[in-house]
Symmetry: C2
Subunit: 245 residues, 2 copies
Amino acid sequence: MSTATSPQIIELGAMRRICSGCSLRELCLPAGLDSEAISALDEFVQKKQDLHVQELAYRAGDIASNIYAVRLGSFKSYRLRENGDVQIVGIHLPGELFGLDALASEQRQIYTEALEKSNVCALPVADLERLSRQIPAIGRQMMRLMARELNSSYEEHELLANDTALTRVAKFIWRYVQRRKQVGLQTRQFDIAISRQDLANYLGLQVETVSRAFRELRDRKVITASRSKLEILDHAALQALIRSE
Amino acid sequence: MSTATSPQIIELGAMRRICSGCSLRELCLPAGLDSEAISALDEFVQKKQDLHVQELAYRAGDIASNIYAVRLGSFKSYRLRENGDVQIVGIHLPGELFGLDALASEQRQIYTEALEKSNVCALPVADLERLSRQIPAIGRQMMRLMARELNSSYEEHELLANDTALTRVAKFIWRYVQRRKQVGLQTRQFDIAISRQDLANYLGLQVETVSRAFRELRDRKVITASRSKLEILDHAALQALIRSE
DNA sequence: CGGTAGCTTGACAACTGTCAATCTTGGTGG
DNA sequence: CCACCAAGATTGACAGTTGTCAAGCTACCG
């Protein structure tokens, strides 16, 4: 499981090209790094891992040994409330990292589960620390990504604190589309692996309320939606909905 | 404003003892660092800064050059919504850091304002990066603190997504007390500089609703509260309120 | 000591939650 | 390959918590 470990020196041979050749390298951990740094990363991003629907990347209480980058598919991160209910606190799409909380404590605080057949890169935290000592840019990039997480948690706070059900759903769809655009995925018509139930949970609403919001958006000819298919009919109207708030 | 800058080597002389002598050193950035590392930190934590009520540590759009540690007082961080309304996204107490989002982008995304007469340490980000290159433990500690922020943002998500008004207020008070306990402050009776209006905003409620929640807690003999004075009469009952939820 | 900002209280409205029933759709097995 | 089943999604009716509006109260600042 652990690599041969020549503690401090990283040999820059034997390219595995995992990051170098990845279409997400401009957005993922390697973003902004020079080719030498990326080559160093390649050494450590060894584990590509497939996960099937509902498979857990990790569960609360696990020793936090890796951080993950989504290559394909999507994930939900959730906590268990006192009463045992699930509270979804994050959705992860291709090109995004999850499991960053690993850097706080030995034990994971949350569960992260695949919403569909997915594929991730796993980066051992220990290697990452060693690596960022050797190549400061990687440490800086980690910080930047965590800080970005923090900023988006502020946006979530805003959404949960003040927005109506319709606005929450509209914002979610809008941001979802923006995130897809980031990584060059279709933005007009696509699948969302997130169930209405999960979406409701994430947005702090009931399923029925989410369903009604979807109906409203359908009635207004902003989207069409069936189960997991989603089509944006009117990007402008969607954006207007959000801005008007 | 900027120090003399001998780029890579930090001289460990001329102790300023800012961190070494600080009562918060076990909880703040120096937590877990050895005395040598703390001495190095001392070199850079040069600016202690007083802020009066309503004074801004920084505003959105500013170049993010420092991170801050609260020594005394308290702060609120907020965003401006599309419509110009304030959305408070964080409250900062003694021993806590704020402005960590600085590590994501050049420009600040949020405003942070003193809720009362306060005092902070300011750490130049540039120095911090140089320092963590020299002393890896400091970089690691930064990561740990950011990851802790992330975890507490999950708790906030949970609160905003599902809790009733009463539970939100109870949880806020409970966590507020726990945070005070951390740094050895009074937990039975104390001042909260946060107005009902700000508290409501932060918790995603209306002032009237918060006021009613306080009344409920008063009626149940859990607390006494007037303006900014707060007394916890029944810690157990408060905790029970949260767990039952 | 007075004014004013902040807090509290009450009455009512509205949005969202709850409960119950029906409809769709995707997956399974004959 | 088709039909059926079950889980998920939608819809409707109603209830409840919180928001809104309006008034009055308090306490702090000058």
